[in-house]
């Protein structure tokens, strides 16, 4: 990594996302805050319906310091395209166009517009803060809700272990567009996230960052563990740090030994009901995924 990388020591003291009304310990707001600190003043943001637009734009309060607008729920990708076209028409070259969408707004509702934007090779940055359900509307299952998670639309009981679907593999769906730059990150590894944000800002073409963001309210976790849980998710192999560039996948972190999945999951209210057989299903899916990633990715 070059010497001009952004770290906690040299990042701007300016706070671009201050005074927002997100729940205490919100991982999504940390993802937005760090991203805006890397991108700086000349950033135009679009946010679809979701937590970050709900907590940032509460009239008469405007928690964003830079220019930000709420997009339609399915239209983040197309709105970003339009913003870039507007900047081009005005001859503005030194600005970033960034979208912050949740997992539902990216993997389910906004997927078509995102796909179109990547296909057009727009110079935009799309950040998906993944808290693994529709948290803003009260914890409904999304395409990125993992197996076994209890949500209001995937209740856990005698017959079902919560969500019976595995998490949609959105990172590889995005990479399959042959996007200029795509990466996964976690709020538990902030320096890795900062590096990826800097890369995304420098790329000519579309970049996509999928950041794993804890949600104390929806997950039933203590607020202070938001960052450590996101780190543990990576250490236990349930999430991974990877990049896609020039047609090749790279794993940034290969844990020699996984943190125990059971210990990690049972800290969260949404997984409290899991039986050993359910945890076995989760571990098997994880091992299958890691076997494939370790074989095929750098």
């Amino acid at each position: 990594m070059s010497s001009n990388r952004i770290t906690v020591k040299n990042m701007t003291d300016k706070e671009y996302f201050l005074g927002h009304k997100a729940c205490a310990g919100c991982g999504g707001s940390l993802a937005v805050r760090l991203a805006l600190k890397v991108f700086g003043d000349r950033t135009f943001a679009a946010l679809p319906a979701g937590c970050m637009s709900a907590v940032g734009f509460i009239y008469p309060q405007m928690a964003f310091l830079n220019n930000a607008i709420i997009s339609t729920f399915p239209g983040t990708g197309s709105m970003l395209s339009g913003m870039r076209a507007g900047l081009d028409a005005l001859g503005v070259k030194d600005a970033h166009v960034v979208g912050f969408a949740g997992d539902g707004g990216t993997a389910d509702i906004g997927l078509q517009a995102l796909s179109g934007a990547i296909d057009r090779r727009e110079k935009i940055i799309y950040i998906c803060y993944d808290n693994e359900a529709y948290m803003n509307t009260g914890v409904q299952k999304s395409g990125l809700t993992p197996y076994g998670a209890r949500t209001t639309t995937s209740p856990a009981g005698n017959n079902l272990p919560g969500s019976v679907m595995q998490k949609k593999n959105l990172f590889e769906i995005v990479a399959a567009h042959d996007i200029a730059y795509a990466a996964t990150a976690s709020v538990g590894y902030p320096q890795d996230y900062l590096n990826k944000l800097s890369k995304a800002a420098a790329v000519e073409g579309t970049s996509y960052i999928h950041i794993y963001a804890t949600c104390p309210t929806g997950w039933g976790t203590p607020t202070e563990t938001s960052v450590s849980l996101a780190k543990e998710a990576v250490d236990s192999g349930l999430w991974y740090l990877a990049e896609y560039e020039d047609g090749a996948f790279t794993l940034n972190r290969k844990p020699k030994e996984f943190f125990p999945v059971k210990e990690h999951l049972l800290k969260q209210g949404r997984f409290k009901h899991l039986k050993d057989s359910d945890i076995k299903v989760i571990e098997e899916a994880r091992d299958k995924k890691w076997k494939r990633m370790l074989e095929k990715w750098n």
Binding site: D13, P60, Q61, N66, E224
Partner: protein
């Protein structure tokens, strides 16, 4: 810390007083978040080494670097989540219960 100042909010009396968009200019803050807090983070300055881990991981961006190379908390906007205290490698931050009798 470089942060916007709190502004007074006067309730609009006619439609002309409302902003054109759904919100105000960037950084238009009219209310604080300090009332959300049950515990407040208190930094022990003699233990703090200035690694700025808490600054990095604060979801609300309320921790500032001071000139002395330590950190200071902006209690106007701190929600008391406790991430800073939990993440501090030197246990230099204590979560102290707020005195609500004040």
């Amino acid at each position: 810390m470089d942060k916007p100042e709190l502004k007074d909010f006067t309730k609009p009396e006619s439609i002309r007083d409302y902003p054109v968009g759904p919100s105000f200019y960037g950084g238009h803050l009219v209310s604080v978040n300090s009332g959300w807090r049950t515990f407040r983070p208190v930094v022990a300055l003699d233990t703090c080494t200035g690694c700025f881990r808490c600054y990095l991981v604060c979801p609300d961006g309320v921790i500032a670097k001071t000139e002395a190379g330590k950190v200071a908390v902006d209690y106007d906007f701190c929600k008391g989540c406790g991430v800073c205290a939990h993440e501090c490698p030197f246990s230099a931050i204590d979560m102290v219960k707020e005195d609500i009798s004040e």
